[in-house]
């Protein structure tokens, strides 16, 4: 057991899988010799060599296309898209190629690959380098979508993603790279499609993802201390497959739902979860299910502005307090 950073957990997860399976290869821009723009892959090139860990040209379509062709023919590629915003320049692979090949071929074509990418705000990079775009992937049938919030989940879900026979989009949160957590020694393998109840509670359910998880936990703690409100906090972890059982089960117990997401307002995963609960858990709900999101605007660059647009523990707390009428 050791405390490692979320950043180092990325390296560890990849290294674990590359050591296990010679078919795992890794490519991306500046990922090999330089160790990645976020230094999340330092040492992989040295450990596994330049044949398995490769720097590419600035050609996101070639990166994802090559990953797909390799996956179709027997390798298990991990491809890095440096910032998740850049998924927009190679979106055809995400939306039209990876997720449809198996279906269109009536099961002939396989596509076991992982796209890992740095998602989310907090670095004052402005509107084109700060987005949370996991909903761009969640909405596409045929993909799996993961976004861990802690170092241990990074390792375990990375392993699960690499071993998964389907295309998995793996969102790492830029503002979590420096965060730390205990990670046991030895191999770690988690399960896609499983949410985690990080904090049990009875007054309401908070569903959060990635950077919003520590914020939701902080809000929950303050709600307990300041208002005696007992929140259940769920880290949804995997958007596809989605652990609706855990979410619906929680709402059946707490009768209230709040989702906390970094996505802009419209059509985020919060809307999906709220819609599922509003339909299937309608009679469990004692009050409106509420989404806490970033407003529907491009992200501003300046620190003081960026800090107020993302859901903060304060805003989460106040929204829940108001929502529960306390």
């Amino acid at each position: 057991m050791a405390e490692i950073s979320y950043r180092d957990a990325v390296t560890r997860g990849i290294a674990q899988e590359m050591a296990r399976d010679p078919d795992v290869v890794f490519l991306g821009e500046d990922v090999a010799k330089p160790g990645g723009c976020f230094k999340a892959t330092v040492g992989l090139y040295e450990q596994f060599g330049g044949v398995r860990v490769r720097d590419t040209p600035i050609s996101e379509q070639a990166i994802l296309g090559a990953a797909m062709g390799a996956a179709m023919t027997g390798l298990k590629p991990i491809a890095e898209i440096m910032f998740s915003d850049f998924i927009a320049v190679c979106f055809d692979y995400i939306a039209n190629e990876f997720p449809k090949a198996r279906y269109m071929s009536n099961g002939q074509t396989k596509c076991p690959l992982v796209v890992r990418t740095a998602n989310g705000a907090g670095s004052r990079f402005g509107a084109q380098h700060s987005q949370s775009v996991e909903n761009w992937c969640m909405m596409i049938p045929g993909l799996k979508v993961v976004a861990p919030s802690s170092p241990i989940d990074v390792v375990g879900l990375m392993a699960a993603a690499v071993r998964d026979p389907d295309p998995v989009i793996f969102f790492e949160h830029k503002s979590l790279y420096n965060s730390k957590g205990e990670v046991p020694d030895g191999e770690i393998l988690d399960t896609l499609g499983t949410a985690k109840i990080l904090r049990p509670g009875k007054d309401c359910t908070i569903v959060a993802l990635a950077l919003m998880v520590p914020r939701a936990l902080e809000a929950a703690e303050r709600l307990r201390i300041d208002h005696g409100i007992d929140c259940e906090v769920i880290d949804v972890r995997s958007l596809v497959p989605l652990d609706t059982k855990t979410i619906l089960g929680s709402v059946a117990k707490t009768h209230r739902l709040f989702t906390v997401e970094e996505n802009p307002r419209l059509c985020g995963w919060g809307a999906e979860i709220v819609s599922i609960v509003a339909d299937e858990g309608f009679y469990d709900l004692d009050g409106p299910p509420v989404r806490i999101t970033t407003p529907h605007i491009p992200l501003p660059a300046a620190d003081i502005m960026e800090d107020v647009v993302l859901p903060t523990p304060q805003r989460i707390m106040e929204t829940i307090r108001r929502g529960l009428g306390s």
């Binding site: 062709g69 590629p77 090949a101 269109m104 009536n106 049938p141």
Partner: protein, 344 residues
């Protein structure tokens, strides 16, 4: 363009003992006739309202599909476009499987789930047909990367049209393949048109692919795509280079499609006489003459024609008799577990 040497390696009538040889020449002929007849049949079936959805024929372009496929060996991989029937058939996929898919029958290659634009038969090395222009060029790179990584000796061959040379993925793939020296062969079938607009209207150079090879450090290769011998020899050279670890090739094949872009297109935009001119250079006709020059008898040719005709007829009947796919396959094979569950 190809040189005279490429065009006619032995004097006419000198027998079949040139570099290509009798067996391969007969195979090249059979393949082209098969593509011609199967595609013509697809067109007829469309007129009878039995082919549904869209369809993109390669009538007139058969020498390219046949020439490359005959140069490939088992294990080599084809990456095709929506205009992929010919390439799929040329790798040995039964006509019935292809027509079945076009007719959306349960005996179709993908049982109707993919449709005419997405023919795939991995057992024959047909690694999919892609309907988003350019998407498969990087994918072919990836398959070639796997071969390089594992030391496999197969070549990935990627077919696309003249219009495809203007999309970003073309550029990214060519550069990527060249830098990584991947065993991939890019084949541009220049049939002079995109959907309805002539390629010459949208490029600032005469040849969309060949005139760009140097941008990727590659040799300029421009051949007569209607002469299966030239295609075959060019393919062999490119494959040898790929297998030797010398990297990719970009081959531009000049050709012409006899029909419209897709079933919806009467091809009115073509200048008068253009089609007729090209029909004089019809690949099937040309190759039939070639066989005769090499001394193949009319009887042998007629036998091939007849057996292909029978194959296509039988396939047609089988497809007409085949049932529609069952509806329960609608939700299979979204994920590798065979199902479509996105939730628990």
């Amino acid at each position: 363009m190809s040189t005279a040497k490429d065009r006619a390696p032995g004097p006419a009538g000198s027998g079949l003992n040139d570099d290509i040889g009798e067996e391969k020449r007969l195979a090249l002929y059979r393949s082209q006739v098969r593509l011609r007849d199967a595609e013509q049949r697809a067109f007829d079936l469309f007129l009878q309202n039995l082919v549904k959805g869209t369809s993109h024929l390669s009538l007139g372009q058969e020498a390219i599909a046949a020439g490359f496929a005959e140069a490939m060996v088992k294990g080599d991989l084809s990456f095709c476009t929506y205009r992929g029937h010919a390439h799929t058939l040329a790798r040995g996929v039964p006509v019935e499987k292809v027509l079945g898919e076009l007719m959306q029958k349960d005996n179709g290659l993908m049982r109707g789930k993919g449709g005419s634009m997405h023919l795939t038969s991995e057992e024959h090395g047909v690694m999919g047909s892609y309907a988003i222009i350019g998407a498969h060029l990087p994918i072919a790179c990836g398959a070639a990367w796997r071969a390089q990584y594992r030391g496999d000796k197969d070549v990935s061959v990627c077919f696309f049209g003249d219009g495809t040379t203007n999309i970003g993925a073309f550029h990214e793939a060519l550069n990527f393949a060249a830098v990584w020296k991947l065993p991939v062969v890019f084949v541009c079938e220049n049939n002079l048109y995109m959907e309805y607009t002539p390629i010459k209207d949208v490029i600032p150079i005469p040849q969309p692919a060949a005139d760009r090879a140097s941008a990727y450090g590659l040799e300029r290769i421009l051949i007569d795509g209607n002469d299966a011998d030239i295609v075959y020899r060019t393919a062999q050279k490119a494959f040898a280079r790929a297998r030797a670890g010398e990297g990719p090739s970009l081959i531009e094949c000049l050709t012409y499609r006899h029909s419209g872009h897709s079933r919806a297109d009467p091809a009115k935009y073509r200048p008068e006489g253009e089609l007729e001119e090209w029909k004089k250079h019809d690949p099937v006709k040309l190759y039939r003459e070639r066989l005769k020059q090499f001394g193949v008898t009319d009887e042998v040719i007629a036998e091939i024609d007849a057996s292909v005709r029978k194959e296509v007829d039988d396939a047609t009947e089988a497809c007409k008799a085949a049932p529609s796919p069952p509806l329960d396959i609608i939700t299979t094979d979204v994920y590798a577990d065979g199902g479509w569950a996105w939730r628990n």
